[in-house]
């Protein structure tokens, strides 16, 4: 596959990838460059070299998954590039090609699809109290634990409309609206993309000898919690 040609089809790539001065203005303020073995400038330079093998290596690596999408790089680039948007195009391609399951950080896409991805279609929200479980989110603290333990009373006290009909915060999204969302995913390739993530991940899970059963999803737990701690030099 000609990866550059594929990348060039992505409007984000067209908007964000011009020639690079290698000045490092992006890496200087990049939150990911500070805590990972990562340098957005190098991503842009690698892609700019248009070496297919090098790009493939990138698509199979952890490197493209470190960026936190804050887009601070876009503000500063003297050539109007945005490494964060080049990353988006690379991540899309890595998933389309099934390369994402080859890196520890790439495999986490399965976890994101299973949590955020499914929440979107089921509840109509990316985030929902039902999903922010204190046992999975100990860092949310004891007050959040209290909120969840007294969920209905607390949300009611705060004027929300938790999982009920009508307008208001955290209302139940009506089925007809969820159906429209689902239809949009169908028409625009959202479902197809979810399926790619799902299928490729299942293949990898099998390879790694882990189950992906609804009730005992070892692979899901693994991708969400495993950290080799090899992301800094």
């Amino acid at each position: 596959m000609d990866y550059v040609a594929e990348l060039e089809k992505d409007v984000r790539f067209q908007e964000a990838m011009h020639s690079c001065l290698n000045c490092g203005i992006c890496s200087a303020i990049c939150p990911a460059a500070e805590f990972y073995n990562y340098d957005p400038r190098m991503i842009v330079t690698t892609v700019h070299r248009r070496n297919n093998d090098e790009i493939e290596q990138l698509l199979r690596s952890n490197t493209i998954w470190y960026c936190g999408q804050c887009m601070s790089c876009k503000t500063r680039c003297p050539r109007g590039n945005a490494a964060g948007m080049v990353i988006q195009a690379l991540r899309l391609l890595s998933q389309k090609c099934g390369f994402f399951t080859e890196s520890e950080k790439g495999r986490q896409q399965y976890g994101l699809k299973k949590t955020i991805g499914e929440s979107i279609l089921k509840y109509g929200y990316c985030v929902h109290p039902i999903l922010v479980k204190p046992e999975l989110h100990p860092e949310q603290g004891v007050i959040w634990e209290w909120v969840i333990q007294n969920r209905d009373a607390v949300y009611d006290r705060l004027g929300a409309n938790l999982y009920k009909e009508g307008a208001g915060a955290m209302r139940k999204i009506h089925q007809k609206n969820l159906d429209e969302l689902d239809e949009i995913f169908k028409v625009t390739g959202g479902h197809d993309f979810y399926n790619v993530i799902e299928e490729e991940s299942k293949k990898k899970a099998q390879e790694m000898n882990m189950s992906t059963d609804e009730n005992n999803n070892e692979y899901l737990l693994h991708v969400l919690t495993y950290n080799s701690n090899e992301h800094q030099d």
């Binding site: 805590f35 100990p138 860092e139 800094q232 030099d233």
Partner: protein, 119 residues
């Protein structure tokens, strides 16, 4: 302290407040031509050891300037002291002597800290 399943990470940022300049000071005092390094990489391009191993004299020089000495010892051992870099350097730096001084300086620093520990 509680374990959350993750922890804070050390920053990779170079902090000029905290640079260990013992080795670079020693090298520059004894081989002032090294001040003129351009980081052009000519030395690395011609390097015999660099063509066979991961040895990168330009990168090593930079690491020593930034006071990162952890891997310096093993890196320096990769150099074959062939001196080709000396011929190549556009600024006429005595790179061979630089390497020798790095080795010697590192030895001095190491034995100094050993002495401190022994005491």
């Amino acid at each position: 302290m509680r374990n959350f399943g993750f922890s804070t990470t050390k920053s990779r940022t170079i902090d000029y407040e905290k640079i260990d300049n013992r080795l670079i000071r020693y090298v520059l005092e004894n081989e002032p031509t090294f001040n003129a390094c351009l980081s052009c990489g000519s030395c690395t391009a011609i390097c015999s050891a660099g063509n066979l191993t991961s040895f990168n004299i330009r990168r090593l020089s930079l690491q020593i300037r930034l006071g990162e000495l952890e891997h310096a010892h093993e890196e320096l051992d990769k150099c074959m002291l062939c001196g080709k870099c000396l011929l190549e350097c556009p600024r006429g730096i005595n790179t061979r002597n630089v390497i020798m001084l790095m080795k010697k300086g590192l030895y001095l620093i190491e034995s100094e800290s050993k002495e401190k520990n022994d005491r």
